[in-house]
Symmetry: C2
Amino acid sequence: MIAVLAGGVGAARLLRGLVRAAPHGSVTAVVNTADDTVLHGLHVSPDLDTVSYTLAGWSDDERGWGLAGETWTTMAQLERLGGLTWFRLGDRDLATHLYRSQRLAEGATLSEVTAELSAAMGVPATLLPMSDDPVRTRVTLADGREVAFQEYFVALGHAVAVSAVRFDGVERSQPAPGVLRALASADRIVIAPSNPIVSIGPVLAVPGVREALAARRADTVAISPLVGGAALKGPADRLLRELGHRSSAAGVAALYRDVAATLVVDDVDAADAADVEHAGVRCVVAPTVMRDVDAATALGRVVLDA
Amino acid sequence: MIAVLAGGVGAARLLRGLVRAAPHGSVTAVVNTADDTVLHGLHVSPDLDTVSYTLAGWSDDERGWGLAGETWTTMAQLERLGGLTWFRLGDRDLATHLYRSQRLAEGATLSEVTAELSAAMGVPATLLPMSDDPVRTRVTLADGREVAFQEYFVALGHAVAVSAVRFDGVERSQPAPGVLRALASADRIVIAPSNPIVSIGPVLAVPGVREALAARRADTVAISPLVGGAALKGPADRLLRELGHRSSAAGVAALYRDVAATLVVDDVDAADAADVEHAGVRCVVAPTVMRDVDAATALGRVVLDA
């Protein structure tokens, strides 16, 4: 069994490779839900959706988010009505949010809804939200204003400096059913190449998760989301620097050193291996840019063999 | 000024005629909201939407509900996901519900949202929800089971017998801002040819509305929704009989006699005029079937001249 701590796009791509590299049905992903938001009355879970769409083969890989063949009828009409359209919800994507919101209103847990959606989509992995409790990332901007994560990430296009990040509600949250069991029983634990601050950070902050991972440190392999010190997508590099970390393989190693004995860094960062090892983390150098499914599968094998 | 008590399709068609027959900007509709429902986390106001789509010229008159040129991408996907699809929400229609749900979540009242949507759609009338407070029609079926209105109306296709109807929350509701003022100041008050039990009934049940109307009885004209004793659309005729009323012009006159001095009945019901007058209600005989806008405009003139 393989357990994966997962954020959005980077994790989704890794998972698409891992399910090919690993035995059928052996992959469980624990997915960040601190990006979740309620928009127009709908519960949107961006990371769960990115992971499930990608694993189901439904994702639009060129655009990098959402569903292939998506249409935008509702958004166009909402724009005509003067509604909020900065968070783009496609016509097909909307069905996921309608389904989730209806089931949550009926009293289902996010775990239950996630299992139902995964089954309906034919997702070849077990997806667990990190928690069934509401945890919401709040971002303090350099001007002192605190905003919800999606306002920072989507509305502001993460083009503004950040002075602090917190995960509202995380102290009172519990790991979703199955999360601690998956971490305790997995042969291999993987920290996906997701944003260490706002994607993996919330998962580790759920009470009990960091401790469960620390107890399995020897079997945990993290993949650096940085290539040559830069994020392939999103603001991970800037966030690391703005919050006082190094935007490098060694910086990532320092963040994960208590939970992961091994860090996979990209070929272009081979020169950082000594720094990583100096932080007390074994360094594996391999291609980490998942241009296609084959590259992701190869990275999956590296992680399983590490 | 003309004030209209309104339900869904019949009221929408009358209003489309009235705004042509009456001076520009003189029509205010007080619309039933007891059909409102929350589906998938979205606040749906079927009667407000039918009226505004029709007045905006956006309605699909052949289907009889929803928007012209509507598409169903989200519903098709929701069906694929195994979600609830018995209440069909088109892709364009969804935008209205997203807008309304977002604004209500932000703290706006239903009146405010309705005014915003009307402005965005260019609705040539003032639309007021009967109340900003939640009132929900509950229907007791012949088997004793009580269901929400939309379950009776849409999911069951109103093809089941009804033993009772109540408007949950109506005792605690208040008329929306402007409703009592519109009824007090209108030169003419019109009760649209809507279902007397489940469309006009809730509006009259909002505390203060029946009394306000009774005080204006001489200036109030109702239009019978029955033609030859039958409803043109929907279950008004059966509901009237099942709940102990007569399904006839005289039955409608008896229901409205304390609030309307005049009832317009269709040409085919001319023979009922004596029964109507016997109930103490002046009877005007005219064509009431609004096949097109011209017919609706003619009926609007009848009502204004009555």
